[in-house]
Assembly symmetry: C3
């Protein structure tokens, strides 16, 4: 019993990072009833943050990879918050904000980087509603942020 | 019994489109408890999508019409998800993202196009909280997207 | 009994404004179950609205002050909606949209202006999940908007 999602992460070769600290007056997630509302999660990896604008200094491929990193960060927060990722009942919704130049149009491909991670890890429970938009700037020039609402047991 | 909203749609002369497919790794709506979180809904009609930037190639009148189309698409998704629009208890909140040039200021008038549809169709149950913002880019250069949280029976 | 938050506001020297009317087809807040979803709240004070772009005509200090005004407006709406701010169980999440030039990177400092008000007023109950983004335009050229999900008793 339990640890099914941890086993799935291992199968996928995904090693989650440490939960990312909140640099500001907020917390990474809040539970209310059966829902967890997360903060915006950022693309970070062992060498630092992914920064820059899609359609400017970053390619779609860079953006997809950044979205994967942000999804890993989101999972790290959920594991920390819930104790066990098996307690995720459903990824309900995802808001993806892409730091992009005004002519950028490939937000769907970029945020699919995060959505694909969630579906690979959770299967049907990872299928979520989504809004992906292009924003003109993000804190610290981050390439993107993803924020989720999650139903938990 | 039932079909009250269908009758109201007929009175208003509104014919809902087919539910729009999700072009990406996401679904159009997810129910959790008594709430449905929808994906961003796009302005589509029989001739295609409404694309372009408000304050650029699109006028406020174009934007209002696009918001109406997006609201119809949202209703089509809710009907498909719930089986019957009479099961809508309350449109709780609406997020409207308008693809706009930096000098655009008439987001309220544009997103009212969607809000007016919801109130015309559902009456008091259609009165919602709202956030309307201008974004610098959207997938496929869409003119706008609307995303909703809906309480259902 | 009661009036604890009113006493805290007095200690902090915060006098809430009148609830701001919704200029559009929406309402300032909707309750569903134990959650209140608010509309975007704007930075207004006795002399009017704070307008302009961060990184353009507005400094970070201007933005922090605007975020404080928006938080006061949010509190005024919650008091009006709930009758009594002591009924706030938790500020669950905050979405801060900053009207900014594309090179702006200090969104965290700006939206902390709103978050700091909420934590000062509610203590641990005011600690929330957050997403702060830069948008290229806002209705009426507002400097920013904040939108919240709140758990209530």
């Amino acid at each position: 019993m339990g640890a099914q999602i941890e086993q799935r992460l291992a199968e996928l070769g995904i090693e989650l990072p440490e939960p990312w600290p909140a640099f500001g007056t907020f917390v990474s997630a809040v539970r209310t009833g059966d829902l967890v509302f997360t903060s915006g999660h950022v693309p970070h990896h062992s060498a630092g943050l992914v920064t820059g604008k899609l359609g400017g200094d970053l390619t779609v491929t860079d953006g997809v990879r950044a979205a994967e990193f942000a999804a890993y960060s989101l999972l790290a927060t959920l594991r920390s918050e819930l104790g066990d990722l098996d307690r995720v009942v459903r990824i309900v919704s995802l808001l993806g904000t892409v730091n992009a130049v005004p002519t950028f149009t490939d937000h769907t491909a970029v945020i699919d980087g995060a959505s694909n991670v969630l579906v690979a890890v959770f299967g049907e429970r990872g299928q979520h509603a989504r809004l992906a938009v292009g924003v003109s700037s993000l804190p610290a020039d981050l390439a993107l942020e993803v924020q989720a609402v999650v139903e938990v047991a």
